[in-house]
């Protein structure tokens, strides 16, 4: 096993939302295979800054796979060649010495480019604001066993709740659909008694917001599920369809 590799990067550079972008090529040598993909980009940016050039803009925050901030479409896949990880969890050992790595922003009409590799994902925040919450009156801490929840439901709700809102599902979708994200956010609450109270309103409002923002119609290709770093299942989309149609039927 080599401990360090030399690589060539093809990086999308775009000065602003309206500016015309282009690919820029950079060479990096002696990159440790133990470093993460974002650390590799840090090294690139340090070199660019030292040369007096503009560093590459990319999103990141927690760097441990829980915040959903990092993105990047790497060599043909959202979050790169590894399965079920975010870009911050991707390691350079997944690449070969001498390999060319192409790095692009998420591409979907719902996620316009802000700068370089950063896209505007506030559409997801707007969808959450349309109903992705439980309205609670704060009071004393309730008894943990007051509302029994069957284990399978609790597990499925937890699985759905693991969605970090990264947007890889949209980036992978040929229809620019946000259904996997919305279905996870609806499911995590639809499965629990606390969430049922507002379930119909939530399903209707979040889908309406998703449509209004111009995301596409899901045709069940399943690319989202394959590329989701958290393994969110298509079964959630079936549940969202069910929740939505049931809610509309009650009107």
């Amino acid at each position: 096993m080599e401990n360090s590799i030399n690589i060539k990067l093809k990086v999308w550079r775009q000065a602003g939302p309206k500016a015309k972008g282009r690919f820029e090529t950079y060479e990096l040598s002696n990159i440790s295979t133990d470093s993460s993909f974002l650390e590799m980009l840090d090294i690139l940016n340090e070199q660019l800054i030292n040369k007096g050039e503009e560093p590459v803009a990319f999103d990141h925050d927690c760097r441990e796979g829980i915040c959903g901030m990092c993105s990047l479409y790497i060599n043909g896949r959202p979050h790169g060649p590894d399965d079920d990880v975010t870009t911050c969890q991707l390691h350079m050992r997944k690449f070969k010495d001498g390999q060319t790595i192409t790095i692009e922003p998420w591409r979907s009409a719902g996620f316009p480019v802000i700068k370089d590799l950063i896209v505007d994902r506030t559409a997801f925040d707007q969808i959450i604001a349309a109903g992705g919450y439980v309205s609670v009156n704060t009071g004393g801490i309730p008894d943990a066993n007051a509302i029994p929840i069957p284990k399978p439901e609790a597990d499925e709700a937890m699985d759905a709740a693991s969605c970090i809102g990264c947007g890889a599902c949209v980036a992978a979708c040929k229809n620019g659909s946000a259904m996997l994200f919305v279905s996870a956010k609806v499911s995590q609450m639809a499965l629990l008694p606390q969430g049922r109270v507002e379930a119909t309103r939530r399903a209707k409002n979040m889908v309406a917001k998703m449509d209004e923002l111009g995301f596409g119609n899901c045709t069940n290709t399943g690319a989202c599920e394959v590329e989701c770093p958290k393994g969110i299942s298509l079964a959630n989309i079936a549940r969202l369809n069910r929740e939505f149609l049931k809610a509309k039927l009650q009107d």
């Binding site: 093809k10 999308w12 690919f23 479409y73 790497i74 060599n75 043909g76 896949r77 060649p81 192409t102 692009e104 591409r107 979907s108 009409a109 719902g110 992978a172 979708c173 040929k174 229809n175 620019g176 659909s177 259904m179 889908v207 309406a208 998703m210 449509d211 111009g214 995301f215 596409g216 119609n217 899901c218 045709t219 069940n220 290709t221 399943g222 690319a223 394959v226 590329e227 299942s233 298509l234 079964a235 989309i237 079936a238 549940r239 969202l240 369809n241 069910r242 929740e243 939505f244 149609l245 049931k246 509309k248 009107d251």
Partner: protein, 233 residues
């Protein structure tokens, strides 16, 4: 109601219901067509065709079928155009390397248009001749239905003659295969759309859908092929 059917899931519901309706139709159609393989000079098939043409229910079923196709085609095109817009025009320079996504699921419109183009030809071959213009081949023939001698159109003769042309047989086989690929994704997708799926049912529906697609593709191919090879003269 309009806000339901105007929503993304509502439009998909129309696709799903019209698709499932067309699936039911395919089953009936294949059943009647299978009578073509009974080596009785077409008597049983003619009886079946006679029943389908004269049953009062056909006055409801035929327009319903036309509406089903129309809704499915119009919304299929509409959804695909909307989805192109939602996706945007920028493409990935490094391509799409996502694995495990079926070709069928990404080419439903192309497959649908193949079936649609075939449909025009198919209607011209049979429906137009049987319902509108008539054809010398359709000349009445006497068959016995439940022991009663009845005069019916000789639909069998028309079908049999149509399938004496090799190019027609080839077009039918291509369309049947296209339809089968359409259904290899469409079948499970229709259930997913109406919400009838989960982790377990997804596997079952995909298997069932593939079996159904094979049945339809094989059935609608083998009938013209056998007619061409063994039922002429």
């Amino acid at each position: 109601m309009s806000s339901t059917l105007g929503s993304s899931i509502g439009k998909k519901l129309l696709m799903s219901l019209s698709g499932l309706f067309l699936i039911m139709f395919l089953l009936v159609h294949l059943t009647v067509n299978s009578f073509l393989l009974i080596p009785d000079g077409g008597e049983f098939f003619n009886a079946g065709a006679h029943f389908m043409a004269t049953t009062p229910a056909i006055r409801v079923i035929e327009p319903l079928l036309a509406i089903g196709f129309l809704v499915h085609i119009l919304y299929g095109v509409k959804l695909t155009l909307e989805n192109r817009k939602a996706r945007g025009s920028a493409r990935y320079a490094s391509g799409k390397k996502t694995t495990g996504v079926t070709w069928a699921s990404q080419n439903m419109l192309v497959l649908g248009i193949t079936v649609g183009a075939f449909l025009v030809l198919h209607i011209a071959h049979f429906w137009v001749k049987m319902k509108l213009t008539g054809d010398p081949l359709l000349e009445h023939t006497a068959i016995s239905i439940g022991g009663v001698e009845t005069e019916v159109e000789n639909a069998y003769a028309l079908v049999n003659h149509t399938f004496s042309y090799l190019w027609i047989v080839i077009v039918y086989v291509v369309a049947a295969v296209g339809l089968a690929i359409h259904l290899s994704h469409g079948f499970w997708s229709a259930f997913q759309t109406i919400g009838f799926s989960n982790q377990i049912w997804r596997k079952r529906l995909t298997v069932l859908g593939n079996l159904f697609a094979i049945l339809i593709g094989f059935g609608f191919s083998i009938i013209p092929i056998l007619q061409y090879l063994f039922y002429q003269g």
